[in-house]
Symmetry: C2
Subunit: 273 residues, 2 copies
Amino acid sequence: MDARPIGVFDSGMGGLTVLHECLVTLPHEDFVYLGDGARLPYGPRPLPELVRFSREIAAYLAEQDVKLIVAACNSATSAALPQLQEELEIPVVGVITPEAHAAVQATRNRRVGLLATEATVASGRYAELVHALDAGVRFFSIACPRLVPLIESDVPFGAATVDAVREYAAPLKEAGVDTVILGCTHYPLIRPIFQRVFGRDVTLVFSAEETAREVAQTLARKGFENEKGREGSYRFLTTGDPDVFRALGERFLQLPLSSVEHVGLTELERAAA
Amino acid sequence: MDARPIGVFDSGMGGLTVLHECLVTLPHEDFVYLGDGARLPYGPRPLPELVRFSREIAAYLAEQDVKLIVAACNSATSAALPQLQEELEIPVVGVITPEAHAAVQATRNRRVGLLATEATVASGRYAELVHALDAGVRFFSIACPRLVPLIESDVPFGAATVDAVREYAAPLKEAGVDTVILGCTHYPLIRPIFQRVFGRDVTLVFSAEETAREVAQTLARKGFENEKGREGSYRFLTTGDPDVFRALGERFLQLPLSSVEHVGLTELERAAA
């Protein structure tokens, strides 16, 4: 039995979709969630910068004595997962791999699309993984720079978001894909819009549930599970404004966030040093 | 080809979950949605009163020349569906039947729970339908009077909602059900809360997607479909405050509601007369 919490991080709110699935699967575990709101969005940043941010956050979470870290951000996973896994003693679970696997399983016409941030598309990780699983799949990637800022804005569900989704979806519909990977943990927060734009015939692949399963299996196999039947707790940390985090978090996740603490970037840097 | 719109009604916002699934399945159809916000909630009302309200609304929608009516409200369906079907020439599709069917298919231990409004539980329709499909199922119904008012309130995702869901869920967890029918179209609006309270081992049955499928099949079989490939439109009517409707509707459905019109109750009464 292992009473240490699980650490989850993202640039902002998106990783809460992964946290939600973890809370459904692992109600008896404690969680510490860190959103790097001060440096949001991650998507347009160069990969070496994302490596640095991810290392700072992972080091900070490791200092909080977490037993496992979830990189609940596709941009950070694309940029930094191997390095985090090499440097840390505790297991680090990322997104991306589970979705690539699910998409290859789901497609019938072997035409798969990806909507993701610029960093994730630039890393080429999805194309690599999809082709490692099925070299015959036609793969189409579209970078969606406007989506994360719109989702984290004051008007996440307005006409601008619907227009942006339609614009990014158009080349994938044109290419005739039957499966689309929503390769950013923010995107499930506007799931209904994606569903309406793509319709019933396109399979949408989200990472959150698959990632939660991976976390649960890792804990079980390593003997890191907390006591079943207890009620887990959760703590929220942000490098940005705690009030903004609480308001958006409650609206998106329907989870009352009683306590949201501010963490300074210097604390992150100190942990990583 | 039939260019008439489809009418959808509910006491308030809940039917929007059915409308959403219809928009995913039938993007080429036009819709008129009517929410009876002035007389919300329907759940605590006596069945004969719900029959009167449903007849008024259905008559009003029929006057708008709709080709099919969806009773996107479990309380109204429980109380009035047979009567609406007898009185109207156009088809009327309700909720309830699809969920009862899905629940009987899903259960492994043949212990099924229902969370619904007082009117829906009092009507006994779910128990009847479930037992008609499998007389060996143990069926447990819980009336949840606090949920619809909380979901339509200013703080739908607060601790009060989480506490209410836990309280209503407790006897079903105690009874060991493995399948729960969420028998109110409002409940998908707080789906994440239900998912966390029931966890991964309980199957949650929602009506919206099944109902959309029923609507699509009915249109196809009757030759009532609109032209495929066109972009459908939607109009929103409410007997309550249009601004409240727009704000809650956009938040819950992530659908920009450009126009929400007020409809007076006297207009409904006149249509029914």
